[in-house]
């Protein structure tokens, strides 16, 4: 641990990684609270993988067709927003096909991503980076992007906290009170999409899904209010990303994978603690 603190003083990349973890935790804690309580982790997973399709397409256009202005981030944002709108429309139209659309988006997104990366010379090895991210490669520009994301999320949640809560808890009742529930739900999906895109850039697809669901579920057992759940899960996520980074540094392991396993461990322990509390 002391070794890690010393290294933190020496290496800017470690400080950046730590900061990136904390900033990502704010976004994933707040948005993840909605994802978990509204039970749409499937949608989050689907959007996260649809993003790969957009990234693959952007990388292919950029490398093979010389669209130099197009970055993978553009492709990711495009795919995530498109995915959110498609799922929002599928829900608004009703019927039982919503989960089919979600699964299809998941599979098609990944397939498109793999296909275009295959067609792009010299990009094969990068798929792992997008799956697991590389938090130790974060530059100051990405940190600013994360800060912007946190700002947007907190602003939207501050303005729409009550209708968002109502739509997540009892959508039918909210609609009867004159809330435009389809619009509010699509807004929520856009927040999820935005969070996923930005976090994928920092921590990778798999860690995004882990951060958005595991710490939130762990603290969910001990939260009485939605905002408490947001605060607690953001705090727990920060602790987890920091611990994951320290552990990975000490043992020379990939930081993303270590953090995910730590999060899963805490999730299981929280479940056990809640079960013991119930029995006591």
């Amino acid at each position: 641990m002391i070794e890690f603190l010393e290294a933190l003083g020496r290496h800017a990349f470690l400080r950046n990684a730590l900061l990136a973890g904390a900033l990502a935790s704010v976004a994933s804690g707040v948005v993840g609270t909605y994802v978990v309580t509204r039970r749409i982790t499937g949608i989050a997973g689907s959007l996260a993988h649809a993003v790969l399709g957009g990234m693959g397409l952007a990388i292919w256009l950029r490398t093979v067709h010389g669209w130099a202005w197009l970055t993978p981030l553009h492709g990711a944002v495009f795919a995530a927003v498109l995915g959110a709108v498609i799922i929002g429309a599928a829900r608004a139209r009703g019927g039982d096909r919503e989960d089919t659309v979600i699964s299809a988006l998941w599979a098609v997104g990944m397939a498109v991503g793999v296909l275009f990366l295959f067609l792009t010379p010299g990009y094969k090895a990068d798929l792992m980076t997008y799956l697991f991210g590389n938090i130790v490669m974060v530059d100051p520009e990405t940190l600013r992007l994360l800060l912007l994301l946190d700002g947007v999320i907190l602003l939207v949640v501050a303005l729409f906290y009550d209708p968002l809560l109502a739509v997540c808890y009892d959508e039918e009742f909210a609609r009867l009170r004159g809330v435009r529930t389809d619009a509010v739900f699509t807004l929520l999906l856009l927040l999820v999409a935005l969070t996923i895109v930005t976090l994928i850039y920092v921590v990778g697809v798999v860690l995004v899904i882990a951060l958005i669901s595991l710490p939130v579920s762990a603290v969910g057992r001990f939260s009485r209010r939605l905002w408490q759940m947001m605060l607690l899960s953001a705090a727990l996520s920060s602790v987890l990303t920091t611990a994951g980074l320290a552990l990975a540094y000490a043992a020379d392991l990939p930081a993303g994978a270590v953090t995910i396993l730590l999060a899963a461990l805490v999730y299981v322990l929280a479940g056990v603690a809640a079960a013991l509390k119930r029995r006591a």
Binding site: F160, Y169, E172, R177, V179, L226
Partner: protein
Amino acid sequence: MSAAPVIRVRDLDYAYGRQPALQGVHFDIQALDFVSVIGPNGGGKSTLLKLLLGLLSPRRGTVEVCGGPPSKARLKLGYMPQRVELDPRFPVTVMDVTIMGRLGLRPTLGPYRRRDREAALAALEATGAADLCARPFSELSGGQRQKVLIARALCGDPEILLLDEPTASLDPTVQDDLYALLNRLNDTRTILMVSHDVSMVSRYVNRVLCVNRTCVEHCVTEIPRELSLLFDAREELRLVRHDHDHTDHPPAGGACHD
């Protein structure tokens, strides 16, 4: 009664796919009526409620609420769904749930105002649940939850209360409390309530609609004093005639029959 009805249903048909759920439903509800909607499970009671709320659109016929389409009258309605449809693990307090009834009476952006919190608290006081205000909704007993959901329906100050099985799975003393509460609320509001049991309801309601694909109104008549003595009843007894054949179609118009 000469005043315009607050709810007017004419020749209403509804079907889920090809499965008819309601056929030829036809009735009026006047201001300050206390109506019980009874009928077997799957008979279309909740469907009827959803049509009145504008959550479903009729296949044929018309539904008018307060003189217009239901979707325009929503803020005049206080709706209480069956509580089984709510997620018990959602982190909300009694206040969080109750104050949802104020949505639509406030700007979309920003938090609830003090006015909203006061209205929610007043509604909780009216239903006798004010002391539960800070408790997590999931920790409440069945009766407490019903009271909170009625308070939520009330706090938007609706003209008409639409309640979907407010007394389901409650023990008899709690049911009594709840009916006494609804009876008080009926002084100023029209109430339409879906209910399983005719026996409890008949003491308070002035009209009974029996929904089983079709809709038939039953007369509620007061039993002569001498007869109620035979039942050793402490309170006034009322009789709901329930002598129509459910397999047959009702007479045209579905008016009060016997």
